[in-house]
């Protein structure tokens, strides 16, 4: 198992955001995380990214318990992930190219490698011709694709997306989900949080449903019916 939640709980004050949550994902697997807002999807992803720590239980990634990772090790740990945000989190003071290049700069790639990888990533999301544009000039769907390019450019082991299609129309949403499936098909572990049941049930992937902090379906059937 590449990614294991073992009886994980998370409390915020008096409120339990996650209760006794256990599941595992193999390396190269893809899963959708669904449930109403407030069901604990974001909390789960936050624990995974070490934006928060579990109150009980243990999360392990690649066999490494996250409780053993100290503050100083968090940055390096996060570099194993590619993250796509609902609000894109692009930086408007730099071009599309430099937005996508940021993870590579952090990892210390050479300029030559950065050029090549950024162009490859932009090509995959179909935005190669917009590399000089400012993200401000792009449509919502294009901005999200820049965000995806940035998430995959450093070839992460695990790709996480939090409501990536939240503000997009069905056609664009389905294109975006197609991109995630494509990354998964080359071996990347993919977790997508989404409340768009109609869309994710068409994707024929594993679905994890959260309700009030508990995991209520553990759909391991690849032909899943939602």
């Amino acid at each position: 198992m590449d990614l294991v939640f073992d009886r994980v709980g998370k409390r915020f004050g008096q409120r339990d955001a996650l209760i006794d949550l256990s599941f595992g994902m193999a390396s190269g697997e893809m899963a959708f995380l669904t449930g109403h807002s407030g069901a604990g999807k974001s909390t789960l992803l936050r624990l995974l990214l070490l934006l928060d720590r579990a109150s009980s239980g243990e999360v392990s990634v690649s066999g490494r318990p996250l409780s053993k990772i100290r503050e100083s090790g968090i940055a390096a740990y996060r570099r194993d992930f590619g993250v796509v945000f609902q609000d894109h989190k692009l930086l408007f003071d730099r071009s599309v190219f430099h937005n996508v290049a940021l993870p590579l700069e952090i990892a210390g790639f050479t300029k030559r490698d950065i050029d090549r990888r950024v162009r490859a990533a932009l090509d995959k999301v179909g935005l190669l011709d917009r590399e000089r544009a400012s993200p401000e000039m792009l449509s919502g769907g294009e901005q999200q694709r820049v965000g995806i390019a940035r998430a995959v450019v450093a070839r992460p082991k695990i790709l996480i997306a939090d409501e990536p299609t939240g503000n997009l129309d069905p056609q664009l949403s389905s294109e975006i989900m197609g991109l995630f499936a494509a990354f998964n098909s080359v071996g990347v572990t993919v977790i997508v949080a989404s409340h768009d049941l109609a869309l994710i049930s068409r994707m024929s992937q594993r679905i994890l449903t959260l309700k009030e902090g508990r995991l209520i379906t553990l759909n391991n059937d690849k032909r899943g019916d939602g």
Binding site: S27, G28, L49, L51, S72, I74, A75, A76, Y77, R78, R79, D80, F81, V83, F85, K89, L91, D93, L102, P103, E105, I106, A107, G108, F109, T110, R112, D113, R116, R117, A120, R150, A151, A154, R155, P156, K157, I158, V186, G187, V188, T189
Partner: protein, 319 residues
């Protein structure tokens, strides 16, 4: 699987040291670009630093200039020995030879009364006075140069001994002004240093605040950097360079300010020295001082950035 190591094109991340050098170079370049993007506020910051550095530095430079000038004075001060009016020039010369043999005396020069009067009239322009005088009221004078190792106490003793000699009316030991000046210079240097310390603290706080605003305005960027695996060090680096750069520029400008002030003062200072028949050959502010000020400025800038970043950057965490 593919994710275990960076697969495909390229050779993956560089070795750590190389990446570190690269990060620093990138941070330096980025910080220059960011400075140029806000020319007005950054110019103001540079000026504040420049003035804060210039004031104490100017004080210290002035003190050291006066000190250098003092060291060029004949030290220790001479004694003026006034003979009694009845003494003839030959008597005065014999007296001078006698005094010269005393311990603690390096040389004795006889100024005869006529020369003294002529010099006095030349120096004061009181020609009318000389025509009114029936006779020269001045006595012969001996200028006594003490040996250089004599202390002020010994000098006072020497003047007492001389006063006791027959034929000597008075001994004028005029060293108190020098002692006072030296004490004043010591005080001035302490004041300049204290002012310098206060100003340095001011620079750190001003720059720290400027950088805090920079950090606040780039909160978004810092959050994203942290979210996608950039550590505090990566987020901090551009601010350190910005701080050091602003500080160095402040040092440069303060150097220019001081240089220009001394240039402007050159003519009046030369005039002043002319009045005393001396040349103002003191070098007050040179190239090394520029380098020193710039290093000092950039060090202060780096320190302010460390302090500011330490205070504010860690608080910015992705939510």
């Amino acid at each position: 699987m593919a994710g275990q190591s960076p697969a495909g094109v390229g050779s993956g991340p560089r070795p750590k040291a190389q990446a570190w050098v690269h990060h620093h170079r990138e941070a330096a370049v980025t910080s220059v670009e960011k400075l140029l993007r806000e020319p007005v506020s950054n110019t103001l910051t540079v000026l504040v630093i420049a003035i804060a550095l210039a004031l104490p530095t100017f004080g210290l430079a002035l003190v050291s200039a006066v000190n250098q000038e003092l060291n060029r004075l004949d030290a220790p001060p001479q004694l003026s020995v006034l003979t009694e009016a009845s003494l003839t020039l030959d008597d005065a010369k014999r007296l001078a030879e006698k005094i010269e043999r005393q311990p603690g005396v390096a040389a004795v020069k006889v100024i005869d009364r006529d020369t003294a009067l002529t010099e006095f009239i030349e120096a004061t322009g009181l020609e009318a006075l000389s025509s009114r005088l029936d006779s020269n009221p001045l006595p012969h004078t001996l200028w006594l140069y003490p040996s250089s190792n004599i202390r002020s106490a010994g000098l006072a003793q020497l003047s007492q001994d001389l006063k006791a000699l027959p034929g000597i009316a008075d001994v004028i030991l005029d060293s108190r002004w020098l002692e006072r000046l030296e004490a004043f210079i010591t005080l001035a240097r302490s004041v300049a240093l204290a002012l310098g310390a206060a100003m340095a603290l001011g620079v750190v706080l001003t720059l720290g605040n400027t950088l805090r605003l920079g950090i606040e305005s780039r909160r978004e960027e810092i959050v994203v950097i942290k979210l996608i695996g950039g550590g505090n060090a990566f987020a901090r680096r551009p601010f350190l360079y910005t701080g050091a750069l602003l500080g160095a520029l402040g040092g440069l400008v303060s150097g220019l300010l001081i240089f220009m002030t001394f240039e402007a003062l050159k003519a009046p200072i030369a005039q002043l020295f002319d009045l005393y028949d001396r040349s103002a050959a003191v070098s007050v502010f040179g190239f090394e001082d520029f380098i020193l000020l710039m290093s000092l400025g950039s060090a202060l800038g780096w320190i302010s950035a460390c302090y500011s970043v330490q205070l504010h950057l860690a608080r910015i965490q992705p939510r």
